[in-house]
Symmetry: C2
C-alpha cells in the first residue's frame, strides 16, 4: 500500500539512501536520462530503477519518455515541503529559546536592582 | 557500526519514522522528560527509548539526567544541516530553471525581430 504513507514520510525515506541522495544531487544540475544517471553506480539497472521509483513516488523527481529514453528531472516542491517541515519546528524552538533568554536577562536585572 | 553513516543520512533515517517526527514536534515546544514524551504513545517503554536513541545518535535531540528523570531537548543544528542540504540542491535547480527561462525569452525576442 505505497500511497498510505504521508508525503513527508516518503521524502525522508527516499533521502535516507546514499544512491537516491546522489541522484537528487545530480539532477539539481539539470535533467538526465536513466542511463546517464545509472552510469556512475556499480549497480544492476533494475536495482537502480527501483531507487528512481522510490524518488518518483516521493515526488522528488518526475520522469517523461523521450523517444527510446526516459528523462528524469528534479521536482523541487517535495524538497521545499520537507525543508519547511524542519524549519517550522526548529524556528519554534529557537523563538522559545530567545524568549527564555530575554526572561533570564530581565530576572538578572531585577536581581541586581534589589 | 552506528557511527559509520554520514550525519545527514542519520537525520533522514531518524525523521523517516512517525513516532520520531512526533517527538521532534513535541520537543519544539520545550524540553520534556522521557515519561512525558512516551505518554501519548501506545508503545512499550524500551521500544520508545530506542526511538529516542535513534534521534540522539542523529544529533536531533540531546538528553541530560535530572534527579531520577532523563530530560530531552531539541538540538536544532541537525535540522538546520538537513534543511541546508535540501535547499542547496533545490536552489541550484531553481537558478538553472531561471537561466533557462531567460534564455527562452531571449530566443523568442530574437525570433520576433527577424
Amino acid at each position: 500500500m505505497p500511497n498510505q504513507k504521508q508525503p513527508i514520510e516518503q521524502t525522508f525515506v527516499a533521502l535516507s539512501d546514499p544512491t537516491r541522495r546522489a541522484v537528487v544531487q545530480k539532477l539539481s544540475e539539470g535533467s538526465a536520462t536513466v542511463s546517464q544517471l545509472a552510469n556512475p553506480f556499480k549497480m544492476a539497472l533494475p536495482s537502480f530503477t527501483q531507487h528512481l521509483g522510490v524518488l518518483e513516488d516521493a515526488g522528488l523527481i518526475v520522469s517523461r519518455r523521450e523517444g527510446r529514453s526516459r528523462v528524469c528531472s528534479l521536482n523541487p516542491t517535495a524538497l521545499k515541503d520537507a525543508e519547511e517541515w524542519m524549519a517550522s519546528y526548529r524556528q519554534q524552538w529557537e523563538r522559545r529559546m530567545d524568549r527564555y533568554e530575554v526572561h533570564l536577562e530581565t530576572v538578572k536585572k531585577e536581581t541586581s536592582n534589589d
